[in-house]
Symmetry: C2
Subunit: 338 residues, 2 copies
DNA sequence: CGCATCCTCCAAAACGTTTTGGAATTGATT
DNA sequence: AATCAATTCCAAAACGTTTTGGAGGATGCG
């Protein structure tokens, strides 16, 4: 409510002096500085970031643009944990965070550039965007610094962070082959995700290393959805009863797959070993608990922010970062008995 | 990048005209308006919300102030789902949303008023704050409109939304008494939460209705934490083996309680019926799945935003809203066999 | 023709800051 | 006494918008 002018008037000095006093400049007498500080406190004055940003042409604000901020995200907490990481890092570095959420409807109203320019965000972190999203082109053309999460594309102003999806998938499948499984199917996500392609590549490589031939029919698409995965698994296991192990590209799909198997009368993990991907909370609580590949979503957000701020501050940096994954053994995988 | 001045220059009109043309005023010729629109598009112009807010003294921005935005929140998703609700409602009504997160460290640097005044938020939604938090006093003294989530306090500028905690708890416990249970214990949250007091009251009332005497030793404090609840349950059941049913003030604590019981060799739900509170995702996936009281966290956020915006727009409204809960029967409760 | 009315447009002020380029005072040095 | 340097302060411009109050021209009416 109180402006710098009010402080200046009450202190009997100019606004310039108030500004310089409060911002720690040296050309103001310590005595007047103290006086000004006291008065500012009395008046409950806090400088308007709006006005400051306007004149300084700097907002110290980054945007977290999430495509599809929906309550369904509760199941894997991807968005939430990334948000926590971004928020913590931004807080540490003194950046404000604005949350920008879009969906296909909103995208028709405002372009990516409009969204960012309006709010004068200095940089953006993009989460949840698909590879065929029209925004992605805009992002690459735009010169607003941006870090993509889980989309490995680089340009002058764009970098990315992701995890070692191929390596993670390979580890998962090798765990299954190590247990003696030969007929290993994969429930993959949708093809508009880079991570799906990478995880498929890891699956294939793991098989190849053990000289197990790749069977196209063993890979089905579960769209990262629990229900789709359940449906696809039912079809898959009916058609191919010889399958003894399943690698799912997400834990959520693994949940659906396990339910499908149970409904078909299979005993887990004896009749079917399942390994997931993500290490979501649920995976520790399901019966059987799920062996999975853990990826650190919090760190994904944190590192994205670190990278972005370095970009903003003009530091020369690698514009990408690939985080490692970790395999977590739980109850859903066991030796092949057939 | 392009400013209104650039558009004006290129269109050969004044900035006034550009402003009025773009904002749909009537005193501009349709032909010039079209021309201006085209040029604005060409230049990729979007008005600076900063400048606009400054001059209009209106930001159309609300703040979601969450105390303790931490990754641990993944387990119950309270914050996330509230956020989704707030975000959706704010989006619909044309409000910007800024996420403000605090913790005890940050609170020492900046007061509540500073936090809000700096960013010129018009109103605030407060989530995750405890009843003994120093911010709460500030909130009540401040004249920034504010909606509290799950803290039933009202003042001139402050309202709240919450759920019917007492009724919910009562329903939960009545479910247990209906199943023939007499020795029903309660694992409550910490006492700095209004919801804990309310749920305790509901527990007591349900017992009283069935003329079951209240036993102080049957109520223990699990601090809303899974581990604490596990520990307390172990102690409780050891000391009072006659207990056949448990009402937990949160699903997460119910998870801990069930684990404790299992570790003691009890078969669930035969030896112990458990009902939780919240209906978090986990509760549907645990073994046994958890009977619980569902509260709609998304709606909590959505209604909070509705209320806040009405307050901001000066509409005369009830400054509070109490949402109903719903009982969900799952596997963790069964008839008393003793 | 004279006047009122409508339609288009615009110059300038305002919002609350920071920064620039000095000005005034004081103290020290020649 | 004159000069110089250091210290402390300030007026004014700038940032990018919206709004106010009115100007100028065209049109309609008596």
């Amino acid at each position: 409510m109180a402006t710098i002018r009010d402080v200046a008037k009450k202190a009997g000095v100019s606004v310039t002096t108030v500004s310089r006093a409060l911002n720690g400049y040296s050309d103001v007498n310590e005595k007047t500085r103290e006086k000004i500080k006291v008065i500012a406190q009395e008046l409950n004055y806090s400088p308007s970031l709006l006005a400051r940003s306007l004149v300084m042409k700097k907002t110290k604000t980054i945007g977290l643009l999430v495509s599809g901020l929906r309550i369904e995200g509760s199941k894997d907490n991807f968005t939430f944990e990334v948000l926590c990481g971004v928020n913590d890092c931004a807080g540490e570095l003194g950046y404000e965070l604005v949350l920008i959420s879009t969906d296909s409807k909103k995208q028709q109203e405002k372009t990516y550039n409009q969204l960012c320019n309006e709010r004068k965000v200095e940089g953006v972190i993009l989460q949840g965007i698909k590879t065929d999203d029209p925004y992605l082109d805009e992002v690459l053309k735009s010169d607003i610094p941006c870090i993509l999460i889980d989309i490995p594309i680089e340009s002058e102003s764009v970098g990315y962070v992701t995890t070692d999806n191929k390596g993670g998938a390979q580890t998962a499948v090798e765990h299954l082959t190590d247990l003696g499984h030969k007929n290993i199917a994969m429930i993959n996500g949708h093809s508009q995700a880079f991570v799906s392609r990478e995880r498929l590549a890891g699956y294939q490589e793991a098989l190849q290393n053990k000289e197990i031939p790749f069977n196209e029919e063993y890979v089905v698409n579960g769209a990262f959805l629990e229900e789709s995965a359940e449906l696809e698994t039912t079809k898959l296991l009916s058609k191919h009863p010889e399958i003894t192990a399943l690698f799912c590209a997400s834990d959520l799909m693994a949940m659906g797959a396990m339910r499908a198997a149970k409904k078909m009368g299979k005993i887990l993990p004896k009749d079917l070993s399942v390994v997931g991907y993500d290490n979501i909370i649920l995976s520790a609580y399901s019966t059987p608990s799920l062996s999975t590949i853990a990826q650190d979503r919090y760190k994904l957000g944190f590192e994205a922010t670190t990278l972005l701020t370095k970009l903003l501050e003009g530091k020369e940096v690698e514009k990408n970062k690939v985080l490692q994954t970790a395999f977590i053994k739980r109850e859903s995988t066991t030796e092949n008995h057939r």
